[in-house]
Subunit: 342 residues, 2 copies
């Protein structure tokens, strides 16, 4: 919480748009004296709402006008080429220009990735950026990447993801030698496709704390700090997990509302079930990192409310504080030097 950090917020994107971002900004400014925010969006929309959200422009809050908005329906190519004055684009431009240390957007992931990659470029040694998030586990949480930026990945890409995830686990979670696992299937002999097998060889020789293949359930068991997979597999794992959790919640409500007696039991169990629900509150896990770029870009969930969006801003602040992109570059250089030295 030392040096001051400037974070640009795409104020127009996401399902709730300004209705989530403005109160989130107010909350963050109250909670963290070390942050300054730039709200990027249509001034005609933003200005009249500031007071109501308890915000006032000044040293810690400035507005940046952006007349356009990227919608969920905009394909990335269109968002990139035809919406150069969108709130998403300008928030990223501010990072590129060095006016902001990081930006946060709840908009369309594909568009955000395409614009961020075009404007900021990837770090040296990183061919493709990846999306990383923390998922809850029995022992705390597990970092998983890629979650959907790259549907086809080579072994080299998976290796680079492992380096980035490992750096994040050390920088942000303070894990000394993060255990890195490669997501794979469980059957013997038919173990893995070619890319995964080749990535395993690269990782075993990398100097990272590579613990070998892990399976889908290991994400939630704990015992591994970083789980690496291609974006297709990662996205399916993420969505499947959400589906299971939602189904269990649905059946739980159904069972507790079956009769007067079960409703009573539900009332008695309410505080415990509430505590359980808070433990899984996806808002606490909001804020996925677009890793591998020459700048910090955080993706907030499209449906994020103010609490969730504020959490994504905290993630951005933490990555600024820990200088994540610089650390990724340093770690890659260190690993490559080690390899050459052998």
């Amino acid at each position: 919480m030392s040096a001051e950090k400037v974070i640009a917020l795409d104020a127009m994107s996401g399902d709730l748009g300004v209705d989530a971002v403005l109160p989130a900004a107010a909350r963050v400014l109250r909670e963290r004296a070390d942050l300054r925010l730039i709200l990027v969006g249509d001034l005609a929309v933003l200005e009249p709402r500031l007071a109501q959200a308890g915000l006032r422009t000044g040293e810690r809050l400035v507005l940046e006008h952006a007349p356009e908005t990227v919608t969920m329906e905009d394909p990335p190519s269109r968002a990139l080429r035809a919406k150069k004055r969108s709130s998403m684009r300008i928030a990223i431009d501010l990072v590129k220009a060095g006016r902001a240390h990081a930006c946060v957007s709840a908009g369309n992931t594909g568009a955000l990735m395409a614009i961020a990659r075009f404007v900021l470029k990837t770090l040296p040694g990183i061919e493709r950026p990846a999306i990383l998030t923390a998922l809850p586990s029995i022992q705390g949480h597990t970092l998983v990447l890629d979650l959907g930026a790259n549907v086809d990945c080579s072994a080299q890409h998976l290796f680079q993801f492992a380096v980035m995830g490992s750096v994040l686990a050390t920088a942000v979670d303070g894990v000394d030698k993060p255990r890195v696992g490669l997501l794979n299937v469980g059957e013997e002999e038919i173990k893995g496709n070619e890319q995964v097998k080749e990535a395993a060889t690269l990782l075993a020789a990398s100097g990272l704390n590579y613990i070998g293949f892990v399976e889908g359930d290991d994400i939630y068991k704990g015992g591994v700090d970083v789980v690496v997979c291609d974006g297709f597999v990662g996205n399916v794992a993420l969505k499947t997990s959400e589906g299971v959790a939602r189904m269990i919640g649905h059946f739980m409500r159904e069972e507790f509302s079956r009769s007067a007696w079960t409703r009573l039991a539900g009332l008695v169990a309410m505080p415990v079930l509430g505590a359980l629900k808070r433990r899984f509150d996806p808002r606490r896990y909001n804020g996925a990192s677009l890793l591998g770029l020459r700048g910090i870009v955080i993706k907030s969930h499209g449906g994020a409310d103010q609490l969730a969006f504020a959490n994504a801003v905290q993630v951005a602040a933490l990555e600024v504080e820990k200088a994540v992109p610089q650390r990724i570059t340093a770690q890659l250089e260190r690993l490559l030097t080690q390899r050459q030295a052998i």
Copy 2:
């Protein structure tokens, strides 16, 4: 429940081996008058235990000697080449020889698939067998394939999986025009890898009730009867789901055992939580089909107890009754004729 069905049980495989299979056999014989069973295993092990399990050889139960057992550590190639007198192999041989209509094994999936494919061969028009199982959904259940037999799949393979899954939904679940979805990632433009995109084109022109791309959470939402994916993705989805469910169960126990008060709440809520647990009881979903073979082979979970194993036998009986392999062939021929007619 008309004609008599003969099912061969690999009595030696699985974590519990005979301790699960013998009581399961007794249960199935009690419950279903239309079944006859062949217990395949080491006679020196089986014979002394029959009486204790309430079994007696006779018209409905015969034993078949198999001196070897495939272990979980046996790679498929070794199981196939070096263990030709294993209980798993002989159970499949009985199907090939026409002495059994189907077989059930709780052994090593890779070995089971390799042996089944070698002995029985694939159906005409099917290049690769796939593993299918039913997963619970808010609206009932969803059939998902492939769950791990094929880590790399072409569009043609995915198409063949869709045909097989669709046939199973009609034959076994009685769904008239099963809705078939192709598992994919959610982001626009970066939608899917090449195989998935090409499979979508094949399916759209197939005459199946193809409803388009679905995401991981759709498996549990319902709204789709058959979800098609490659074995890598399917296996990760399955294991991830198990992991999430187990983590939620873990946290629930933890929350309910926090204090005297929460333990009391747990007692009150117990009947409701018990009902919830029964709904997810994986034993009710035990019995994955190895589809696409010239014969019916059902894989029971390695950790299956007698109830779970008995369920797998019921799945086998149902597939015999519905003549699943014959129907797959007929459906493939119908779809190909339609396509040529266009």
